[in-house]
Structures are given as C-alpha cells and as structure tokens.
Subunit: 312 residues, 2 copies
C-alpha cells in the first residue's frame, strides 16, 4: 500500500523546544489530513555522522528533544481525542547512541560520556561489531498541547504524550491522545531507529526521521492519557528466536529495573566479551524491561530480555 | 522430541510450605538427572473445578503456594549454579483465577472476592465468554534453598528464585539459579496455564501441573540471582496480531503500573463490555506490563498490552 500523499509538510526548522498551549500553529489542517514531517535527530543537529565523544560532553541541552509543529487540527476541542495514525517512518542512513553524563538509569555507574555512530542499512544497525540490531523505526516524541498554561519541558512525557519513547509505536499503529487545547496542537519528533523497552541509557539509535501521519479528531472517544493499538505482533523484527533474561528482585521496581539491567550488562560481558559501557548502550537499543510480577509482596521482579538473534 | 524418562518422581503430597535450607531432601539425584513432579494447584487442592466464590473467602493461606521437593542434586555446592531445563508442562483440564481480598496490584479497588473456573481444551482457556486465552503453561514457583537459615515464606520471590511468576519460563527454557546450600535443594510448583507479565490480580489460570525438568550442576557458571534463556520467541501463542495498549505516566513505577492496569480495565469495559472485576482477572492472565521508558525524568511510563487475538 502506498503512503498517502500529505496535505501539509512540516520542515525540520519548524520546531519548538517546550510544550506550550500558547504556541501559534505552523499549519492548520482538516480532520483526516495526512501530515509529513522532516525531523532532525534529538540533538537538533548538534551530533552528526562524524561526531566524536567530545561532542557529547559539549551538547547544548537547551536544544535537545525539539519537536516539529505544532499543527492545529480543525474542530478539535478539549475533551476530544486526537487519533494519530502512524503511516510511515524513514530514518536517515545513520544514527547515534550516547551515554550522557548525569542522564540514564545507571547514570551513577557510567559517569563518563560515550558515543556510538551506527550505519543503518538493509534494516539493520550494527551498533557494535557482531551486534546487529534489527531496525524498528518510530518517534520518541508524539504529543499535543498540555492542559496547563506555560512551557513544559520536552524531556518528561505526560498525559498529553510527549517523550513517550515507546518502541511499539511503529508504522501501522494508531495512537490516541487527549485533546486539551482548541486545535489539539500536535507535534512530533525524536526519531529512533531501534530501542529496547526502557531505553535504559537514555538514548536509542537516534536519527533524523521523515514522518508521515494522519490526524483525525475523534468526538466519539475520550481518553485521559495515551492509548494505542499496535500495527500487529510486537517486535516482529527481533522476536524471532530465544532471549537471554536477567532478573532484578526486590521491593522497589526502579531498583529492580536497575538490578536487572546491571545483571544483563554483566551477562553481556561474561558471555559475549562486551565492555560494560558498550553493553549499557546495547541494552538501551535492544533489551526489553518487563514487569514479571508485581503482586508477590514484598518483592517484585523486573526482567531484562536480550534477543540473542542480534549475535547470529 | 520425546520427553526423557525421569529418574525420580515427586508426588503431589511431597511438598513444603516454606523455603528452608534445613529441610531434608525427599530425593537425591545425580547431576543431569530428569525429575518428574506432580504438583497440586497453588491452593494446595482447596479450590477445585466445582468451587464457588465462597471458597475463595475461606481459603487457608497457610496452605497456599506449596512447592514440591526438595530434591538434592549430588555435587552442588554454594557458589555453583543449578541449571534447570524446563522439559515439559502438562496442566490439568481446568484452572481457577481469583481476586483474593487484600491481595493484588489493585487490591484496594477490588475488595470483594471473585473466582472464575476455566476449562482448558485444545490449548485454549476461555476465561470469559468470548475471551479465549492461548495457553502457555509454566510454573510460578521454581527455587532452591535460601542462603539464610530459617523458614522463608513461599509468597515473595528472592535471589534463590521461588515465586517468580515469570510467564516466559515455558517448556524449552533453561533457568539458572544460585546454589546456596549443599545439594541445592530444588523445589517447584504453582502451575500456571496462562499469565500476563505482572500477574496483576495476583493469580494466573492456576492449575495442577505435571512437570518434567532436568537438573544439572554448573561449576563453570556463577549467577547472583535468577537468569534464564527462553525456548524461542516470546509469547508465540499470543503475539500473533495487534495489541491494545494503555499508559501509566508518572514518577513512580508502581503507581504507573497501577494506572496502566486501571486504564486497561476501563478500555476492556468501554470497548468490549467486560465488567471491571472480570477485566481485572483478564488482565492478570493475558495483559503484559512493560516499562516503556525509565529515563525521561521525572516521569516514567509503564504500558499494559492486551493481545486482541483473544477476542477473535
């Protein structure tokens, strides 16, 4: 099926750096319109195919996680739902993955900056020699204007969407967002070529992305936070063989998530000879965090799952 | 491939109700032996195919989550790893799913007891009319003797395994547990015919289970908590079509898990006409909790995923 032609195109320089319901729209479309977006990577172009780790240490955080838009959708009113059909994602031919000092699930254990540039070819990104990650492109940032006045950072997600970093929002999925402002004021960005559930080091394979979506106002549906229907089976590019899994066990889910990740890093070192920092980046782009059980008080289990096919 | 014949058989009445390194083994086997276990359901036979909700309210918790064993494995010493190959699981023809007052992720919102008896036929359990759950049998409880002296409840899991309630430990998986006591002292039970990641109401489709495992001492491997390799792709019985997903967004993962589950219950009511208590049970047996992102401070996202194929 061909991707529908867009009725409006949003350029890569039509972005904003905070969610804010007072922002004027860069375009207004009718409900059911197809919108095409050219998005820079999450660094806003500060990192390129030729960057080195030194460029990570000098990143200007004021320019990180820009989102393209906002696009007003005619007829959208507070209380409605904006249906976002994710029609197509075309990543660039390269991406970056970084451990940024002070940012990430194990930030205290990985204080130094790290950077990997990955070529993206034939649906695969070889993050490390011998670790071939199947690509499953999506966008970390998809949102609408917040309910509250004033600027909201684009880093944390919220009930209006934003930086959800949800890997299963691939092409073919339909996302439902609560409308809080007239016109909804939709924006999107933060292209990811591949990511694990959790995004533990704080970055995916970050890439500029060409995006096509269809925006439809739903008067018949009321949601209070993001909901979505996936395109089909989950993680079909990676869920093709066995996984290795490590448990974090204890009374706090965040600590358990940290333990599970730390133990996966240990496994990747022990069995695959991968340096700890590289294993941390690998976890972020391909290892999935699941809540195995959250009822056998006082101890919960978070499990980290690594698809072994990446080494095949 | 035929299941290897067992060198020892553990009867359903050879169980214990606490993990305790001082328990005498009911059998001793050599490393590499195949062990067969007949396990009662998690209620220890208190609930049957003919039970009603009244039987849930009178459950004797002192008899819940018994585990069969312990089996000593010759040569296992503290610091070794016990490799548990999960060879075969044969559930009974029925199972139960209950909301037990005071127990479960949303215990405060579902104070009344509830019970569903499900017939298990042709790999399917129809928990509710029109909700056909593909079976993926495993055991909630798999463990060895703890490091510390004295009795340990079988309800919470720990680094020695125990009540891990991990749905991906199906036949064909290999589990690695740290050995803390001479002989390891392995036990297992708590048959589940199907469960979602999280087991949110506190019970799966609980069923008596015939279990076959191979126990091998690994001197070449040292683990500090459970690790495992899955049999193949994850959830292959359910991961066959689209999922509907609901987000919980906020600074605490447990609260986010509760929100995501609550919103899935709302969705199941809104779109599928399922009563809230039934939807809660349905979530427990088939909805998966994933940590979508845990790095975009201060807000994390837990997402609940329901396989829509169950309604097909």
């Amino acid at each position: 099926m061909a991707t529908p032609s867009a009725s409006v195109h949003i350029r890569s320089d039509q972005y904003h750096l905070a969610w804010d319901r007072s922002l004027p729209p860069v375009a207004t479309v009718s409900s059911g319109s197809v919108v095409e977006i050219d998005a820079l990577d999450a660094s806003g172009g500060q990192l390129t195919e030729d960057s080195t780790v030194a460029d990570v240490t000098t990143l200007d955080f004021g320019r990180v996680d820009q989102v393209n838009g906002p696009v007003a959708v005619e007829g959208a009113e507070p209380g409605d739902t904006l249906q976002v059909e994710l029609l197509d994602f075309q990543p660039a031919g390269w991406g970056w993955t970084a451990s940024i000092p002070g940012f990430g699930l194990l930030a205290d254990e990985f204080p130094a900056a790290a950077l990997r540039i990955t070529q993206l070819r034939d649906g695969i990104g070889e993050l490390l020699p011998g670790a071939r990650i199947p690509l499953a492109p999506f966008c970390g940032e998809i949102g609408v204007a917040p309910r509250e006045e004033g600027p909201h950072s684009t880093i944390p997600p919220d009930t209006f969407g934003g930086n959800m970093d949800t890997k299963h929002l691939t092409a073919g999925a339909r996302l439902f967002l609560p409308v809080y402002a007239p016109g909804a004021l939709f924006s999107m960005g933060d292209g990811h070529a591949a990511q694990g559930d959790g995004e533990v080091c704080g970055t995916a394979i970050e890439t500029p992305m060409r995006i096509v979506v269809r925006l439809t106002v739903r008067k018949d549906l009321h949601v209070t936070a993001p909901e979505f229907q996936t395109a089909g089976p989950l993680a079909s590019a990676t869920n093709r063989g066995p996984f290795y899994a490590t448990d974090g066990v204890g009374p706090d889910l965040l600590t358990a998530a940290r333990d599970a990740t730390r133990r996966m890093i240990e496994y990747l070192g022990r069995e695959h000879g991968i340096a700890a920092i590289d294993a941390y980046l690998l976890c972020s782009v391909t290892v999935d965090l699941k809540i195995s059980e959250v009822v056998d008080a006082p101890n919960w289990i978070v499990t980290a799952y690594c698809p072994l096919g990446i080494f095949g």
